[in-house]
Symmetry: C2
Amino acid sequence: MADRSEAAAALKWLDAHEQESIARWIDWLKIPSISTDQAYAPQCRQAAEWAAAQLRAAGVRAELRETGDIDPATKRGSGHPIVMGFAHESDTRADAPHVLFYGHYDVQPVDPVSLWESGPFEPVVREARPGEGGGKRVVARGACDDKGQVMMFLEALRAWKEACGDATSGVRFTILLEGEEESGSANLAKFLKDNQRELQGAKVCLISDTGMLARGHPAITYGVRGLVYTEVVLHGANQDLHSGLWGGRAPNPNNLLARILAQVWDAQGSVTIPGFYDKVRPISPDERAAWSKLAFDASEALGRIGLGSEADVESGERGFTALEREWARPTCDINGITGGYTGTGAKTVIPAKASAKVSFRLVADQEPDAVREAFFAWLRERTPAGCRWELIDHSGGHPATVRTDSGYLQGAMRAIKQACGVDTALIKSGGSIPVAGMLKQMLGLDTIFMGFGLDDDRVHSPNEKFEIECFRWGARSHVLFIDELSRMIAR
Amino acid sequence: MADRSEAAAALKWLDAHEQESIARWIDWLKIPSISTDQAYAPQCRQAAEWAAAQLRAAGVRAELRETGDIDPATKRGSGHPIVMGFAHESDTRADAPHVLFYGHYDVQPVDPVSLWESGPFEPVVREARPGEGGGKRVVARGACDDKGQVMMFLEALRAWKEACGDATSGVRFTILLEGEEESGSANLAKFLKDNQRELQGAKVCLISDTGMLARGHPAITYGVRGLVYTEVVLHGANQDLHSGLWGGRAPNPNNLLARILAQVWDAQGSVTIPGFYDKVRPISPDERAAWSKLAFDASEALGRIGLGSEADVESGERGFTALEREWARPTCDINGITGGYTGTGAKTVIPAKASAKVSFRLVADQEPDAVREAFFAWLRERTPAGCRWELIDHSGGHPATVRTDSGYLQGAMRAIKQACGVDTALIKSGGSIPVAGMLKQMLGLDTIFMGFGLDDDRVHSPNEKFEIECFRWGARSHVLFIDELSRMIAR
């Protein structure tokens, strides 16, 4: 068990070495670990090796594990490697804390690259501009999601190691850093299954990939949405056609795809696919009351993305507040759509096909497989004459809602409160962290989502940023959460 | 006046030199004169110079004229140059024929380039494959539209010149080859106005940019549709958003654009924009009866583009046959649509904007400006909360329907019948040739559309082709039409 002076020393170390922490964070951000594009596979591996080296520098045993199909010649997997770290792995006491830390080192693609003010992989540290809110920030792809948030944890380990000689203050940690979170975690379920023995004893999972309630309002997230991500391609003629000669006498997949997808929502913004809402857990009166008291201003949030408050009402399902829609209601979004001529100027073409990336955010207790199959069946029922569908599953994950009364979660709340000097809110997130659903299903693990992002961090967008104060609060909170865990050993 | 032996000599020359004609045609096709992309401006100029040289080789005075804004330093225009040719230009007799020949040397873009079996600008001469129908063909971008069709005329001039010493057999021709037909003819109206004096005396316009009724069934086209081509961009937030954090509480331009454009058509395939059909000329019982007797098989046409006959019914406006829909009914098509992530794999984004290229084919007596403004007003009425439109006009043109009882048209029909040995049908086309509307409005000229394309020529699509027999029939028909015109001098 650590005494309070040790945690204080670790915090002091963090404070004194912040510039070096930021420099390391920036080093990692320079590696373009875009997982969805195989052209970046070497950079993904490089980012994994970088993270393993950081763990080792904190005295944590670390190694890269291959995923996917292994090439016998190179011994490398077809997937991106997973970084595994082990601290106090010989501690198998049933009454001792054992935390599985999950994060990911891969990042989203950067397009449209023309909208970036600086290179996505040339991190810039700058002050906030007038009207931006917040303070100094790092701008780069992955600044927040998830390298910045994982970095808070890595620096907390380093602080403990440097200040007190033990990165986890005696607590058993198994650390798993994935490289395919942004591309659908295709190899994760198999990896967890194959390595179940090593993970089996964990009592709780800790993930830093979520946001605060608002700037200055840290939070623990007790639920995330699930995801179904599909690509639907409507094929018409076997060739592109001239819209003059064929307009009005051959199917136009662009027209038809728009007409079909438009039917996914009714006039109230609800999804029309039969059975879609059947398993949705209603919002309890207690939750509704608690959420309405949170310091969340939907209009102010819209203002930060250039929208007036009038944008709120029609953007989602009628009859729910913005928070309720994000946290407790499923949605359907066209994430991408393309067909025909999209270059400069005019081309009078009827394309042979049109396609859309259509995703659904799910809430408890919706089942991803059932939603996807219902959507595909719904599309097939609407197949236009002469056309055919190509329906692709880009994977997804279960929603995860976790208990708020566990000792781990209460310890995390105390750690954040002490680290940041303000109360911690209990919130949910509209994002999806499929690993949480997997860990619950495979290992029975609840997850503590302890993240410090802000909803104007532009994750997945050009000019992604993470603010230095968020990073500082996160690193301090992780230092103190390790302290809380360490105190459980003694109890 | 030519006697019949001269025309026969010209036809004989054509026959004897066909391989050289094809070689010249291929030379021209190798020049990638894509007008919509400014990167190809030098190649457009090169294709113009190539055509001027052909005219000169036939003894026709020819020159390039600049269009658009003229750069004082280079003396070059911001638009692509227009080739002008003049034969017997000193003949200003009011009773003599004076024909304005219009064609274009620019071509459509080539994307998706991956679908081309050979390079779009590496012309291939090959036999038909089993199932393709027809005979030997040239495959390349522009093989038909419009280099191949213009080439028939250029070779007819050359045949007259070589066989009889005069490219037009005494007939006054003004020849205009445009370089911006495929990109909206932005500079043509001003050019015609500025050069009205030179064109004023023309009695009729001749254009070879249309199709036959079917393989083996040549035709004169007496009507083409008009065009309105727009680009509509729906802007939402000022940045791309994470679909987890914002799905359901910020507008998704992809969803909204699909939902709005889907309303352009009703369940019967009719366009719902108020007033859209107000000026549409009804199909007369005579036309309907004549068209129903034509050797046109809608199912067979669909079969050639890989579709069953069931694709016909739902592709356009109910209550009309396929020919009626193409020739006499207006349409709306989404020629291109794009928004959000369209790369490989998954990206959970709500894009800041989504856009579509939306065009309308118009029939007499619809007005392009009125249709475009009605569409834009219709969109503005549907502006989603928090969003704004960017509405772009990519130009267009009036529909053109011409008289079928003129001496010129009757002469052209005789020429085709003698050249091809079969009767000539009187048809319309769903395509748009905006210059015809312009010439009618500015100079009062009717146009004879004497084209030899087939509707499986894949104009505007990968693997565009033009068949040697079509080319041969076209060149012979133009030789004999010059003969018919020449005979008018004597009358």
